[in-house]
Every structure is written in structure tokens, then in C-alpha cells.
Subunit: 245 residues, 2 copies
């Protein structure tokens, strides 16, 4: 594990951290760290993807853009996962945009290296597939949540998902950006954020939302957060060592 010191941040990505021995060495050699700023677009809908990305400190938002300009987020990817499942699923592109929601680092890998390692069918493949299912759960829950829950509950869910993937309690994020993610009006977020602030769950300042009462936020959230979260743990937590072969 001497090599880790060189590109230390690699281990901050959960999937990469699960690898060991020769497998880790091979993957590690193929990785390249890159830094991203808030708002940077990694790829647009329909773009052929050039890399798969393993976030270490950055957070990525998967955003759909409709014909009329309306937007809605379908998933959040942090250091618990990877961006670019299409590259091993076989599509090479998706119909959404991937955009940096929180500045930071990601490790990228070329599609050819990814596929080569994936084809070996070891732990790496297992992890990637399990993560894919976790992502499906997240997207599904977003779909249901969009239909059935109030904006305020959804804001809680969104804040929690982001907070989990962040070192800090401060989310650098305007109401306007959040409204794009949740697919609602900017004013709707302002109102909801005010209510949460009144209940001392968050602190609401210009361009930043600070999480004050994490537990309170969880209580105020719809069930969707917890479902997604526990499914991530089930799929990628402790028991991860077993491959399904």
C-alpha cells in the first residue's frame, strides 16, 4: 500500500477504497486526479463520455433538461459512487447532464481501462454493479418523491443527501440552484428554507445553507432519504466483501 501515499485522495472514494491487492494496483495505475469547480459541466445529454469519474471530494448532480428548459435532478453522486455507469453498461452516453454541485476532486479513468478491468469479473465488477443498483434506487425514489411529497420535505431530503457527501456542514448553494435541482420555483425554495430555518434546522445565509440540526432535518424529511440511505448501506456496506459468483 506504499503507492497510496502518492495519490492519497484515491482512498477517499468508497468504491476505490474497497479494492485490494493486485486489483487495486491495476485500477490505481489507471487513475488520474482532476479538480473541478462549482457549475462545471462534465458532460451534456447525449455526449459520448470520455472518462468515468470517481469523486473523492467533489459532488456531482445528474440533471435532466426538458425541451421547455425545465430542469430536474435525478441523482446525486459523491465519494460513495461513480459517474459514468453507461460506460460499463454499454451505452456510452446518457440523456442527462452531469454538473458539479460542489467543487472538489475526482479521479478519472479511461473507458478502455474501465472495461478491461470490469471484464475480469472480480470485486471491481461487483462493486460497480452494486453501485448501479444503489443508483437505480436513488433515481426511483426521486421519481416517487417528485410525485408524492411536498417541496419542504424534498428540500430536507436533498440537503441530507448533499450533506452526507460533504465534509463540511456548509453547503455553498443558492436557492436558485436548488430550485433547478428540485424542479420547482426559486421562491418555493426560499419559503421552504425559511421554514426550516425558523425551526432551527438550518441556517440560511446568502449563498450558503448550513446544517444546524442534522437529526431534526432527518425527522422533517420524507421517508425517501432514509430508504435511499439504507439501501446504499445494504448494497455497499459491510457485507460488500462477498462477490455474488
Amino acid at each position: 500500500m506504499a503507492a497510496i501515499a502518492e495519490k492519497e485522495p484515491v482512498r477517499k472514494n468508497y468504491l476505490l477504497a474497497c479494492l485490494e491487492g493486485e486489483e487495486f494496483k491495476r485500477v490505481f495505475k489507471a487513475l488520474e486526479p482532476v479538480e473541478f469547480e462549482l457549475g462545471h459541466v462534465i458532460y451534456e445529454a447525449g455526449d459520448k463520455m470520455d472518462y468515468v469519474y470517481f469523486p473523492t471530494t467533489a459532488i456531482v448532480s445528474l440533471l435532466y433538461i426538458m425541451e421547455d428548459g425545465g430542469t430536474a435532478e435525478i441523482g446525486i453522486i459523491g465519494n460513495d459512487g461513480l459517474l459514468g455507469v453507461s460506460l460499463f453498461l454499454g451505452g456510452d452516453s446518457t440523456s442527462n447532464r452531469a454538473i458539479i454541485q460542489s467543487a472538489g476532486m475526482m479521479c478519472r479513468m479511461k473507458p478502455a481501462d474501465l472495461r478491461k478491468e470490469f471484464k475480469l469479473g472480480g470485486r471491481f465488477q461487483d462493486l460497480l454493479l452494486r453501485y448501479t443498483q444503489a443508483l437505480i434506487t436513488q433515481i426511483s425514489q426521486t421519481a416517487v418523491c417528485n410525485r408524492l411529497h411536498a417541496v419542504e420535505e424534498q428540500l430536507c431530503r436533498w440537503l441530507l443527501l448533499s450533506h452526507d457527501r460533504l465534509d463540511s456542514d456548509k453547503l455553498v448553494m443558492t436557492h436558485d440552484l436548488i430550485s433547478n435541482m428540485l424542479g420547482v420555483r426559486r421562491e418555493g425554495i426560499t419559503i421552504a428554507a425559511q421554514k426550516l430555518a425558523a425551526r432551527k434546522l438550518i441556517k440560511n445565509t446568502r449563498g450558503t445553507i448550513e446544517v444546524i440540526d442534522r437529526q431534526g432535518l432527518e425527522d422533517a424529511s420524507c421517508e425517501c432519504y432514509e430508504i435511499v440511505n439504507s439501501e446504499y448501506n445494504r448494497l455497499l456496506g459491510r457485507g460488500i466483501s462477498r462477490t455474488f459468483a
Copy 2:
């Protein structure tokens, strides 16, 4: 291909129809046809899955049930796909219910057989992974559609997706059931269906909706149908022969 005659309907499933030679023979041997009635629950949220299912004439609906009893569909699976991606993704269960939306046949396969064949990394694996991406697209589009589009547009989308997976123009389906799928009020479906009937796009009788003007329905639908549809074609259409290795 002599064996096909025995279990002829196998070829009605698109994924199975794409297999050839030895690979097809192995998969074919592991298949077992089963018939299902409308409303039958294949598995509940959290259930360990006993089989993977390849629909030939049946249609399956993936339904989320919330704590408060609210429901919403996240995807429709017909003879273009398979039920149980979790079995090769590694989760063995999902947090939704799979329910028969249209009576008919499916071919089922034991998880062990599925995984064994999947691990071989051939066309079968390629197809399953590509289908997974198509399913992700469908779920994503549902999420966005739930947020941004009107019930009437969504009803069109839903009718089209169902119609595509059906031999007949007649959908045996009550407004109440559809409302569960779309996560809206029953009355909302009644109103929307009336409007579509007034425009001569569908015929609305007790317990059945008949598609009259397919093209008209597509025009009345939101863009979501077309996006999902073309993504299915892109991922699983003609060019399917290339494996990504």
C-alpha cells in the same frame, strides 16, 4: 434451432431473441414458461427474488408504495426486457413491488443459472447490462415527468408505453388502477381520459381503454415517451450485435 418449436414463445422476448448458438441453447434450457393473471404480485418490496423473469406476452409494472399508502410507478417492463435486474447487479431485492399489469406469459430462470451465464461475459451479459441502462433511462424520465408535466400528458406517455408492449389496441385497465400507477387521483384520470376521448385519440369504456389514434397520442404526449423509446432503440436496437469488450 429445432428446440425453439417446443418452447416457441421464448423468442417473443426481445432479449432472448437476440441470443444465438450455444449461448442461446444454454439459456433456453434454463428457462421455464409461467402464466400470470392481472394483478398478480411477483414480488414485494424487500423480498428476496426467486427468479428472473423474461416477459413474452405479460406486462409488469414496477410500483413504489409509500408509508402513507401512496403509490407511484417507476417503470414498465414488457417483452422488450426483463424483471429482476437486482439479481445480476448483486442486490437480490429492490424496494419496489412488481405487479402484473397485463395478463400473459413470462419465462423465468433461476438466479444461479442467470449469474452463471452472466459471468461468462458474452452477448447475454452485454444485453442485460444494456437493458439495465434502458431501464435507468425509463426511471429517470419518469422522475422528471412526475415533476414537470401535466397529468394528461403523462397519461399519454403511460398509454403509449403500455401499448408498445401489447399485441392488442385494448388495454384492460380501470381508471383507478392507472391512477395508482401515475400516483394521482382516480378522478384526475377520468377527466384526462375524457379529454383524450373527446379528441378521438382513445375510446374509453368500462374497464378498457382502446387506442384509436396512435399518432395523435404521441403528439399529445410529453416528450418523455419519445426519449425513452428512442433510448431503448439506441441501446437494444440494430447495433446490438457489437459487444463493448
